[in-house]
Symmetry: C2
Subunit: 327 residues, 2 copies
């Protein structure tokens, strides 16, 4: 019987995930039946949101939940012809048989790399676009603060805000990332939260307050932002990476919500399906014109997915963390 490879969670992590929490497993691969396709994985996406799942939703001894881009190598389903590229959410599996459910044919722009459809033009980009424009109701020219602004979501959010004429402040955790935000993305101010006092610097660089704080971090970042929020400010909550591995600081400044009439609201990419046509059209234009830049950290080899996930929480990545399995 043919086999495939899968990355399994074999132990629930205690804090930051460790290599021994995962295993590369050889698993049987069923035959492709009528209506089914066999997909070979090309690229996999590694994202911060995967961490909280490891504590609960993610089954033990099953393939890591996640999404990527693959190629149909055998087809008994006319919707997905052999050779077609597909987006999928089938998890960390090198090859897999699918009924087509959860697959979507991808027709990439020939001028763009395939990988960009896993970040700027994929769920990562849609998360930034919808969180900023719909949940955050961003208006042109507003005062914006974005945490982990050099990250995959943050860097898209920061650049959309710049395109919309906003004053944009970003935080990040290394000098290299800070330089990229300042010199390449032209943010108005950048704070290295590992070397600078965050709350104090944020107050200095937001003389007109903050209308929209795009929240990726929680904890001390949220406490620094809250006292700077303008009346009727919005805090779209995309993530709280400071809390994902347990611990983290409690938030003490929520009182500021009251007199500021601040709205804080969570969202996930799947809320924004109705925006996806506009998103793809606008974003493709911005990426092709060079108005929207990105960085990728690509690990080569299927087995390196755990290393990629662990690296996210050490800040090892510049921009989007990706696993490339084959061309």
């Amino acid at each position: 019987m043919p086999t495939t490879e899968e990355i399994h969670l074999v132990r629930r992590p205690n804090g930051v995930p460790a290599p021994a929490d995962f295993a590369l497993v050889e698993a049987p691969l069923a035959d492709t039946e009528d209506g089914q396709v066999l997909v070979e994985a090309l690229w996999m996406s590694v994202d911060p949101y995967m961490r909280p799942r490891l504590d609960a939703d993610q089954p033990l001894n099953g393939p890591l939940l996640g999404g990527g881009i693959g190629r149909v190598v055998q087809s008994r389903n006319t919707k997905f012809p052999e050779g077609a590229l597909v987006r999928h959410g089938a998890g960390f599996r090198k090859r897999f048989v699918s009924s087509g459910k959860g697959l979507a044919v991808l027709t990439p722009d020939p001028d763009l790399s395939l990988s960009v459809y896993l970040h700027a033009l994929g769920g990562t980009g849609l998360t930034a676009y919808g969180g900023l424009l719909e949940t955050g109701a961003l208006k042109d020219g507003e005062q914006v603060f974005i945490s982990t602004a050099a990250g995959a979501v943050g860097s898209v959010a920061a650049q959309i805000a710049k395109i919309k004429g906003c004053y944009v402040v970003g935080s990040t955790g290394s000098a290299e990332k800070a330089a990229w935000l300042r010199d390449e993305l032209n943010l108005d101010a950048v704070i290295n939260y590992k070397t600078e006092p965050l709350a104090e610097r944020l107050a200095q660089v937001t003389p007109n307050g903050i209308d929209l704080y795009f929240e990726n971090v929680g904890g001390g970042h949220l406490d620094a932002a809250l006292p700077r929020m303008n009346v009727r400010g919005r805090i779209p909550v995309c993530g709280m990476i400071s809390t994902y591995n347990g611990g983290g600081e409690g938030v003490r400044n929520l009182f500021a919500l009251i007199y500021g009439r601040i709205r804080m609201e969570g969202f996930v990419a799947s809320d924004f399906g109705h925006l996806s046509a506009d998103f793809l059209r606008e974003m493709t234009g911005w990426v092709k014109s060079g108005q929207l830049k990105y960085q990728e950290t690509v690990l080569q080899g299927f087995g390196r997915a755990p290393e990629g996930l662990i690296g996210l929480f050490k800040g090892d990545n510049l921009g989007k963390m990706l696993i490339q399995i084959s061309d």
Copy 2:
């Protein structure tokens, strides 16, 4: 020259306010000029929101900011004839001269006590009504949790939610208050957070989760509510009394906002001016029919305002804390 009495803040409190932070001061009273009226205070309102002001907005050695009901005793302004009852926001002053700015003639329902216009039918009630129905977008029959449900705002919010057919859980800090909520207001479940483990009990009594958490406390209350929130739940933020005297617990469960797409939003009574006609009509009906009950803690004597304010943070009050100056 005639004089008046005023309650002044003479020192910024360190934590819970102390009697020595305040002073009863004799102050000169100007003559009533053309266009002005002289008002004699009858009732004063003492509210939790006054505490944070003492750290900043409240001037030292000036009358405590606040509102009440008074009677016009001299008038040179035809809008406010002698004998008229007025609501005012002129602060803790026994008698004062006013241009009429900030005064509103009050025509009480003859079947109701005057004091009810300082709570259920005043700013307190409007805060509950607007926070629940507008900011919180309450729908009939939802699952509702209200912190400090025996307080002036909380008890109105709890009863409006019951009138709207909701399942209502309230928290409070004494057995006496818990009994009132259970036996008089017919709440579906009551938690005494001083004697019961809040998070555990809240989970037990909200088998269908929480659609709307009316937030008056912050800290541990918010951390207990967040994991119980249903998808698209709302947390209108009315107050965070646990933080007003400094210290308080940091909030650790905000991560729940993301996957729940929870909306948390601050508000103040003055946001709801456009609701006041509907509010007064509906609430007057509910109070007169006995559907909406209230409790008052009345301290007799102008000089007892500091005692009333300090008592709020000790939970000395049953329902609304009021100072009665004269009939």
